[in-house]
Symmetry: C2
Subunit: 324 residues, 2 copies
């Protein structure tokens, strides 16, 4: 059994669902699982060292400058003008390229762990720029729609990037999420490349009217309004072409009683929202069954919306386990 | 002094501010003034007769089929399969082509009056299709972003047209509006024609992020968030070219402490939101002064957000008066 001292910490950071159907590049929320785990130790020497990475078959580099967790903590240490350093091991408990904010979960877990070990000099929101820097290193642009909900928990709206303005959005306590992670991989770049740079004005009006409806529905816990608003008429029709069986999975989720169902981030994971955990499990079973018709494997994760972002884990605690 | 019997009624319907900066073709709200007044009398004979129109220099036709108030009530009577009819006089207390929902105010006042005289067979929301039919007759398309807030009061989101889904949006009680109506006229068609049919995806993301912020700010009475969100980066830069002095008027409003300022509907009226009536008057004075530098005249209307839409007036009551 691992022993824990004040200079050592184990942190979980949640997966996140960006876009949320109608909120492309604007809205995201965190879920209680899956996610990543970082174990970090405070060091007297400056800098960042990644001693180990488990999961994802050793595909991630341990050089801190090439790893989102490393990039984020290096930026934090530089900002704080720290003479101490951080050694960490990263346990990838969620797949890369899944559309669930895998890189964000790593950097958020690492940042939170480092900040705790350093005596909590920053609030969670103040770490956002360092997590965004890590996102930029991973995918070329400093997106915040995974790292913001990942750090803050709940639903986060990126109202503006210049200046950065992240708004926490109220939502109903009992909202639950089902995620189907198909065992295929999509690169965010590919999923972005197929999008057009211009859209029809009349489509944009429909999209932003749905987003406005979703925000209003979340704010007043109007599940019916949330359900009516969970439509993406611009991106889902294009991106879903890269996700085999998408229409069947979505149809099965709705049929099973989900409030709505769409692509998580840039895919290939698919999320559905429900009003109870029981319903979310039923929806998950229906989604998995629909997807299995393709002879492809998948994992289903069911959880409530994550309220607080990253958290310190007990020594043997393991919060990540596929439900189906 | 006019005598009032059960078969006669006098109704006020409010002006409305559509678009609300970032909610193009999607969001609108009603204000306590200006607006239109309809006097209506129940008749034993079927059909609609418009006996008189005051205001706007007799520019509006009294043939019911050519007048939004007439079209709306004809549609209502037909829907109800009424054997009785309505005679009405319409008092235009707000300018045509002002961007304040002038045609909507007339049809909403007429519908509400007729429905009351007929024993209130419909709820306010149920009259929306008839008001939309009148809008279609006036401007070619059945827009709801003036008639919906006009009928229901407050802020109304048109989440969807097909099927029609109008959502009342929560807002802070003390929100006040200043309207500058420049004495120039813009036809909605002209103001729509200069808009492009396609927009940049990156602009759309900024626009819908602001709309999401506005809805969230209204719902949680966060005036600072409302203020930060009141931006229109797509339409205002184009449409404001048709409004002389717009940049100066907006600058003056912000300088005087308004939460935000943009074009009302398709213009030329300009609206600003404030947190108190006192502030809204100060903002109005600053806007009027900025506009007067062009040697053009203008009216300023200051009022709280209208809560309930149309209402029955007392015999001599006159709710419309420019404040400056």
């Amino acid at each position: 059994m691992t022993e824990y001292f004040d200079n050592k910490i184990r942190v979980f950071a949640p997966a996140t669902v960006a876009n949320v159907a109608c909120g492309f590049d604007s809205l995201g929320f965190a879920i209680n699982q899956p996610g990543d785990i970082v174990e970090a130790v405070l060091q007297d020497e400056p800098g960042v060292r990644i001693s180990e990475i488990t999961g994802e078959n050793g595909r991630l580099p341990t050089e801190p400058e090439k790893n989102t967790a490393g990039v984020a903590v290096l930026a934090l240490l530089e900002h704080l003008e720290e003479t101490r350093g951080i050694e960490m091991s990263l346990h990838k408990r969620m797949p890369l390229g899944s559309g669930l904010g895998s890189s964000a979960a790593s950097s958020v877990a690492a940042l939170f762990a480092a900040n705790e070990l350093l005596g909590r000099p920053l609030k969670k929101g103040e770490m956002l720029p360092f997590a965004m820097k890590a996102e930029a290193s991973a995918c070329g642009s400093p997106h915040a729609d995974n790292v913001a909900p990942g750090l803050l928990g709940g639903f986060a709206l990126i109202r503006s990037y210049d200046p950065l303005d992240v708004v926490s959005i109220e939502y109903p306590e009992n909202l639950c999420c089902t995620v189907l992670h198909p065992h295929i991989e999509l690169r965010t770049e590919d999923s972005r490349r197929i999008l057009r740079k211009h859209i029809k004005l009349q489509d944009a009006v429909i999209q932003w009217s749905n987003l406005a409806g979703l925000i209003a529905g979340l704010a007043k816990s109007d599940f019916d309004l949330i359900s009516r608003s969970l439509n993406d008429i611009i991106f889902e029709p294009v991106r879903s072409l890269l996700i085999p069986g998408f229409d069947n999975v979505k149809g099965a989720a709705i049929e099973a009683g989900a409030l709505g169902c769409s692509i998580s981030g840039s895919g290939p994971s698919v999320f559905a929202l429900s009003t109870t955990m029981d319903k979310a499990y039923e929806v998950g079973a229906a989604m998995k069954e629909a997807f299995s018709e393709l002879q492809l494997d998948s994992d289903i994760y069911v959880s409530a919306v994550n309220k607080k972002g990253p958290r310190v884990l007990q020594p043997e605690e393991d919060p990540v386990q596929p439900d189906l």
